[in-house]
Amino acid sequence: TWERETESGEAVNEPLLSEKRTETVTHDDVDLPDELVRDELTLPEPAEPEVASHYTRLSQMTYSVEHGPYPLGSCTMKYNPKFIEDVAALEEGAIHPDRPDEDAQGTLAVLHGLQEYLAEIGGMATATLQPPAGAAGEFTGLLVARAYHRSNGEDDERREVIVPASAHGTNFASAAMCGYDVVELPSDEDGRVPVDALEEAVGDSTAALMLTNPNTLGLFERDIEEIAEIVHDAGGLLYYDGANLNALLGRARPGDMGFDIMHYNVHKTFASPHGGGGPGAGPIGVVEELTDFLPDPHVRETDDGSFEFYEPAESIGKVHGFHGNWLVLLKTYAYISRLGDGGLKDTSAMAVLNANYLAERIDLDIPYGPFHHEFVASAGDVDAAEFAKGMLDEGVHPPTTKWPEIVDEALMTEPTEALSKEQLDVLAAAFTAASEKTKEELAEAPTTTAAARIDQTTAARNPRLSWQDVGGDDE
């Protein structure tokens, strides 16, 4: 690949837009009183060819799923089909959220269709599409739980949300945002929720238990029926974190396991692209008993076969200013429509097969199993973050590192169904190559990436967060 170099042979950074050309404008002719108008504005002023070059160059310094393996555990970095982008670009879908229902029947039909798809896939009564991300789904789900307890007059009492130690950080944060106290549950020795400890933790103050299944070690919580019974008997609700749903499509449904509320990470399970961090969407499914608490509005079919927005009877209100991330939802609908039953089932089959095959091919300790779509290997006496830098030099993206903490120097690895056997072999070879590097070699890695090792500590100690904070070209 091509890289511009200076005459001395050193690679050149792409300059900031602000270092190329800026313009300072004032508003002299606008028909507004001076005191309502800003004095001046300075922004970059590139011509279109320069804009194109700039961002093309930036793209070249960005690894993506189309470059190769991207096995970030719990992130489900799978291939994002192109046709879903075409569907999202359809002009007919580019409408304003305040249209009257009768003028938005197409959009409502898609939303309703997706509500039904998700409900079916999760074994839920219905699903709201409003939360714009997985964490927003958690927040929404807990608001629903809280509304439910409130409607039972138990809100003051049920102030605790129980979260296993191996859960995603968002679970803790979402519970806190809803004003709940978080009770952390350590894993038992086989990596799962300890039923005994759970029984002790649960009680009248329990609002909900949040669970990921398979959990972040890739393990199915085999005692899920018992767990559900314990929580339900105590009057709590069971929340399913959908981050790992890709392991179970068509094999098991949260609703059937006893979960009352779940979120779906459509950008994981249903292949809408991650976009460098978002947008995603975090619809939540609920059992029948909770449907009245769903966000406003929800979509239903009317007697004449048309669709309408309505406000559920005891709605928690809104969690997004409008209707969530429409374009992402549309892509999700397209993806599920394309795969159908067989394709969805095959997705989890191949995701699980890939993870097991990859694990077989690498030479690191994997303390917990049997795992499904992901596993957590240990880098042993090597710092997992260093190990990851060593993998970068093999041309692949490393796994999630140092988490969950139950595994020392964890390498949380999720190949997804989208990698071919050939790519899995490449990825396995990268693990091997990294584990054969010395500490010194790892400390110097990466050397083949767009940038050499980056000092993240200094960045945080002296934060420079805009080009106004950046002096010259070589500060």
């Binding site: 991207y70 007919e92 056997k421 950046v470």
Partner: protein
């Protein structure tokens, strides 16, 4: 599991047996066999450790389709959206997005990458986000911008939570203008709930803050005062500095709601004393998209360590070059769990990229012109409607940005409905009030709208 029937290809649009496999899983039957044998398993089923009692052996009854069939089906479905010219705004706007934004942002490197946890191989996206933050800093005059929230409403919720966190003494109230969209307020209330805050409104007069009323309602228990400019009615607020001063006197944070186009022209938030700016930045970067947004979130330096969401900063590589990296991650949920500044993880990074490309495409000059046109078009369209018997526009005696309210002699519901029949959508915002929003994408149809309003009011 019928692994031997896995069929990879049905891009033909045909209807052959694709329904046993995913077209996006590349394993051939032979490869599946060899992988199973490497694992030492007889079947893929064997790999699932799911107790029978909770295993699913039903069907979803979702029929697999070819790509062509899906695209056609969705085209048909969306075709049910009525063909209307929208003069709708109120927080979601349709500015023309130059093609270059699509072509660059859809490059797979941007579209299909993840959060930049390995900065060495994510420099491009990190730089783009750093530039986005910088643009917001330029536009707001504040010191710190994060690289996205979900939308304006959730950004406002986060602002209230932040305001409560940064305050020395505890407080319980947030004041918002009565003109705020009820949806935005509802989101705020959900965020406020967990932070044990209540949301109250203050009145406006003629689209401008009723400063005396606000002065009455403020108190030491107010953690944040929120104002919007332009307001949801399209008016440009004229007393922002006074509001900021008042808030400051009560140790309340002053949060301003706006958007990047308006910010290019109107008073600089930092100059009027804003502590926080929120808004929807996707007014540049996304066209009408059923309300999908990009939460703009900027604060003054003192709030830095309490900022929710992702921040990109500069650093250095081992060989001394400038580099970009996510920074101050100890604020975030994946490190700090329940003590994080927010639960946000997946954000709107790709929309922020699009917004940044859009801003770059316009440049200072183009963005400035676009903003000026928002004033001109609203004024001109209001003036034309005002000439119609039975219409008085604008209803608020203020300057406007993009949109304005018009008073109609006939009930607004009837007016809106009859305009819809003629192909035009406007907001109904009061019993005798409609709201009209004009941008470059519908300005070519203002003549027709005016004619239709004349007919309807005749």
């Amino acid at each position: 599991m019928t692994t031997m029937q896995r069929i990879q290809h049905d891009g033909t649009g045909g209807s052959h047996e694709a329904d046993e496999s995913s077209p996006f899983a590349p394993q051939t039957p032979q490869e599946v066999e060899s992988m199973l044998s490497a694992i030492g398993a007889d079947s893929v089923e064997e790999l699932f450790d799911v107790p029978e009692a909770v295993a699913f052996d039903g069907e979803f009854d979702i029929e697999a389709k070819s790509e062509f069939e899906v695209v056609t089906e969705i085209e048909d479905l969306l075709g049910r959206n009525a063909d209307r010219t929208e003069f709708l705004g109120r927080g979601h706007y349709d500015h023309y997005v130059p093609s270059v934004v699509d072509y660059l942002s859809l490059r797979s490197e941007f579209l299909t990458s993840y959060t930049q946890y390995q900065p060495e191989t994510s420099q491009g996206f990190l730089q783009a986000l750093f530039e986005f933050q910088s643009m917001i800093v330029e536009l707001t005059g504040l010191d710190v911008a994060n690289c996205s929230m979900y939308d304006a409403a959730t950004a406002l919720g986060e602002a209230a939570a932040l305001a409560a966190r940064v305050r020395d003494t505890s407080g319980s109230r947030v004041l918002v203008p009565e003109t705020i969209r009820s949806e935005r307020r509802s989101v705020l209330e959900n965020y406020a709930d967990g932070a044990e805050l209540t949301v109250e409104t203050y009145p406006l007069v003629d689209g401008n803050t009723d400063f005396d009323a606000l002065s009455d309602r403020i108190g030491e228990d107010v953690v944040m005062v929120y104002a919007e400019s332009p307001t949801a009615r399209g008016t440009i607020e004229e007393r922002l500095s006074d509001v900021a001063t008042l808030a400051d006197e009560h140790e309340a944070a002053f949060c301003l709601g706006s958007d990047p186009v308006a910010l290019a022209l109107l008073e600089e938030p930092a100059a009027v004393g804003a502590d926080i700016v929120i808004g929807d930045a996707s007014v540049l970067g996304l066209s009408a998209s059923h309300g999908m947004g990009l939460g703009l979130f900027a604060v003054k330096e003192g709030y830095l360590r309490q900022v929710p969401g992702r921040l990109v900063g500069t650093s250095e590589t081992a060989d001394g070059r400038r580099a970009y990296t996510l920074t101050l991650q100890t604020r975030e949920q994946h490190i700090r769990k329940e003590r994080a500044t927010s639960n946000i993880c997946t954000n709107q990074a790709w929309v922020a990229l699009r917004t940044a490309i859009h801003v770059a495409s316009l440049g200072a000059t183009g963005l400035s012109s676009l903003a000026e046109e928002c004033v001109t078009r609203a004024a001109e369209t209001a003036a034309r409607l005002d000439e119609i018997d039975g219409v008085s526009a604008p209803a608020d005696d203020r300057h406007h940005f993009r949109e304005f309210v018009a008073r109609t002699e006939r009930p607004a519901a009837e007016v809106a409905s009859e305009l819809a029949d003629r192909g035009f959508l406007v907001h109904e915002v009061g019993e005798y009030e409609i709201q009209v929003c004009v941008t470059e994408t519908n300005s070519g149809e203002v003549d027709d709208l005016v004619a239709a309003v004349e007919e309807v009011l005749a």
